[in-house]
């Protein structure tokens, strides 16, 4: 070894020094605040993001996603694949190998039996498990040995990374939850609020809908982490208050979900005490066009069903013109500021699956007018509204009660008025709109309006299930008690065929190509869905907190073990 390499080695050693000196529990307390308080720490009994994020500091899945959306091993030695033999050739089973020497927060060993138990716990029909869809299509979960779990599916599963992947599906300790199966699940108050986990922190105190107190888990698998000795999550108040507590007063280190008005964002960021970070996932605010006639003159049971096509929205030129008239850049600036970006896609991310569809980003009022004109929609009686064959272009446009959505409605109404379309606005209480009550006329599934606006996204990084929602048979109707996700009642055999092709395709590049085509079919090519804004989750952290890597694909707190105090 010559002098040069010795010196280089020394330099490297210095570079590594801060990491080597890092020690568990040296950085005091990290304080987080959520505008919605944490209700329960068991993700299987809640689908509230606040609960899942808080729980992710304590209980962990076998694998999760990093900030780029790539799978990372958490409790296992490697991510199973067909190449390494972890996934069977016929795609009907996946085998996970647990890390050796893994311990629960109480010091007892983590075994395959815990994983098997967790599966049984969620799949118990009486339990009301909120993450049941993660376990769909599973035939059996068995412990091959103490450190090996094999999950077998009913049919070949191109994406087997559902159960025990991501913060919504963590592993629970069998010993703690054994008495909480099925109908007893909700009554196990103590385990539900203080679950034992393998994560970097351990719950020490839990006040329902207020505070979660945690301390560093002495048995965490990385002896140097977490840097913080304790953590606290205070909930309640509103987004404005949470943002203020981090960005203005510096009382807290991290605030999740600080979606506030763009001008307040700018004012707080200017104070220089912290920064806003945005996690861009797959959430898209969009307009959905109704392909069926929602007219109140139709008898109940036929209204907004495929029996009666929509009088004018079935004309592609009308839909296209409506989309062209919208200025998405302005909507983004008015509604979301840094927390949003204009988009033309319903699958806006991950990059692999996002179509390069940007045609809608420039507003084109004149083009929209010309299009309507050419299609025969003209204003003959001079009332400012275009008509054709005695049908007026007059639209009932519904959404939920939400200040940003009402701003959007007002702006879009103006743009549509410019191109000769009359719009009536309607705002519905979100708990009714999304409540899915088949008896209410105001749910988004019934869609008793011409256009409706809401936001939707998909879980994880694979859009297959999400794109499947626009298949013909997913249309809500009286026959299926108005269940289903194809609000538009869109139906195209070519689309359905391509979905079938997608679910039989394993090659990732080919899947991405198909997904992009499907995305374009419902957006660019047909304007059935008119995407408006790609919405991110705005969070804030103080400049004194280091190591934050915002993640849209898993819990935002996915790498809380690596967080440290900036000194």
């Amino acid at each position: 070894m010559n002098l040069k390499s010795a010196l280089l080695g020394a330099v490297c050693a210095f570079a590594m020094a801060p990491a080597a000196f890092a020690e568990r529990g040296t950085d005091g307390e990290v304080k987080l605040t959520f505008p919605q308080a944490v209700s329960i720490m068991n993700p299987y009994l809640s689908s509230g993001t606040k609960d899942i994020f808080a729980a992710s500091m304590v209980v962990e899945p076998l694998a999760g996603y990093d900030d780029t959306g790539a799978l990372i091993a958490k409790l296992v030695s490697e991510i199973p694949s067909v190449e390494n033999g972890g996934i069977s050739e016929d795609l009907t089973s996946i085998t996970w190998k647990l890390l050796p020497g893994l311990l629960w927060g109480d010091g007892s060993p983590v075994t395959a039996a815990d994983v098997v138990f967790t599966g049984q716990y969620c799949m118990d029909p009486a339990g009301g498990c909120a993450q049941l869809s993660k376990f769909e299509g599973i035939k059996s979960i068995e412990a091959v040995d103490d450190a090996t779990v094999k999950i077998t599916f009913n049919a070949p599963k191109p994406n087997p990374f559902t159960a025990f992947v991501g913060s919504t599906s963590p592993v629970l300790q069998k010993a703690q939850f054994a008495a909480c199966m099925g109908a007893a699940a909700p009554t196990c108050t103590d385990p539900n609020s203080m679950p034992l986990g393998t994560g970097p922190f351990k719950v020490t105190g839990f006040t329902v809908n207020d505070t979660v107190s945690m301390e560093a888990n002495a048995n965490y698998r990385d002896a140097t982490k977490p840097a913080f000795a304790s953590a606290v999550i205070k909930g309640g108040g509103d987004a404005e208050g949470s943002a203020r507590a981090v960005m203005s007063t510096g009382e807290f280190d991290y605030a999740w979900n600080t979606q506030i008005a763009p001008d307040s964002q700018a004012a707080m960021a200017a104070e220089g005490k912290g920064v806003f970070v945005v996690a861009f996932g797959t959430l898209v605010e969009r307009l959905e066009m109704n392909m069926t006639d929602p007219s109140a003159d139709l008898p109940e049971g036929e209204r907004a069903t495929v029996k009666h096509p929509h009088p004018f929205l079935t004309d592609i030129n009308v839909r296209k013109a409506l989309s062209m008239a919208i200025d998405r850049q302005t909507l983004t600036e008015v509604g979301y500021g840094a927390g949003g970006a204009p988009t033309c896609n319903i699958v806006p991310a991950p990059a692999l699956y996002a179509s390069d569809n940007t045609g809608c980003l420039t507003q084109d009022i004149e083009g929209a007018k010309a299009l309507l004109e050419a299609a025969g929609w003209v204003d003959t009686n001079g009332d400012g509204i275009r008509e054709k064959d005695g049908k007026n272009l007059s639209i009932l446009y519904q959404s939920t009660v939400n200040p940003i959505r009402q701003d959007f409605q007002a702006l879009i109404k103006d743009w549509w008025a410019e191109i000769g379309v009359e719009t009536e606005l309607k705002a519905i209480d979100p708990s009714v709109f999304f409540g899915g009550d088949a008896g209410s006329p105001d749910t988004f599934q019934k869609f008793y309006a011409d256009v409706e606006m809401y936001a939707n996204n998909f879980d994880g990084t694979d859009p297959e299930a999400y794109l499947t929602q626009y298949k013909c048979d997913k249309a809500p109707s009286p026959e299926n008690q108005w269940q289903g996700e194809n609000m538009n009642r869109f139906c195209d055999p070519a689309y359905d065929a391509m979905i079938a092709e997608l679910s039989g395709t394993r090659d990732e590049a080919k899947r991405a190509e198909l997904a992009k085509k499907l995305n374009d079919m419902v957006t660019k090519d047909s304007s059935i869905v008119v995407p408006l804004v790609h919405r991110g989750t705005l969070s804030a952290h103080s400049n004194a907190l280091g190591g934050v890597k915002i993640n849209a694909w898993d819990s935002e707190l996915w790498n809380v073990a690596d967080w440290f105090r900036v000194k």
């Binding site: 869809s133 699940a185 208050g241 999304f434």
Partner: protein, 335 residues
Amino acid sequence: MLTFTLRRLLLALPTLLFISLIIFLLVDLAPGSPMSEIPLTVPPEVRQKMIEALGADQPVFVRYILWLRQFFWVEPATLIDGWFGLNLAGNEQRILSWQSRSPVFTVIGQRIPQTLTVIGTAYLLGIAIAIPIGIYSAYRQYSFFDQLGTLVAMIGFSVPTFFSGTLFIIIFAVWLHWFPTKYDTTLLVTDWPSFVLQLKQMAMPVMVLALANAAAISRYMRSSMLENMGQDYVRTARAKGMTERVVVLKHVLRNSLIPVVTVIALGIPSIFGGAIITENLFGVNGIGAALIGAIHANDLPMVQTLAFIFAVLIVVFNLIADVLYGLLDPRIRYE
């Protein structure tokens, strides 16, 4: 006096039962579903399973009877079990919150102390400020002090707490850095520094509420004093050669306090309910904040129980105010 009290008590029972029915139906018939908050990525079959697991798919009257039984039998029995180590309640199902899946009364029990310390302090402080202001304003009617008192009272009356609260946060927390904006419920008062911290975090919510309370009570006090000042017995007292101090503080004040005491007693339930916004704004985890959270999440058992507790409090304090009135003013006793 005893029969009067008993009669009022007996009348309160059917009233409460009737209120409970109204509350139950009102909350239940309101549109919305406990599942509306969950993301759209959760499939409808899973939603349905979750609703069944909550028991939310049962008919409304079944849930009402069950809830009555839980409220009037299971919960008190559990409380008594907790005190004396008995097992009256056995394994009976308690009222569970849909949101947190923990017993509603445990949550309320955790939250009552915060409400009492913060909101109770504000009420006491409000009374302590309002009574002297009311007395002096009436004694020196139309003086500069009276005008100032009227102005402050009008501001207290008309400025809503969500506005004054936000204003206080911006002045005292963001600009001056005196007080924290979020109430730390895990703080234990063990020594002097932690007591100071407790005072600091209570300061803003207490100020906001005390201002609002003091405004109302000081106006009542003033008008009641004014009414009595012109009475014949006051002239008589003065004619007897008593000092102004004795006339005002002994004769007039005693008689003027009667209606004010009633107003104060009747205002006590509002301690619990009226502070909802303030609790939410400052992150005080009292029962008002619990009610807001439960309404947001469509957590019906929690909303129904809290609303009914508010109803009980209002009826009880009405009763107390009636009895107090009888005690203070012998003319009103219905013997």
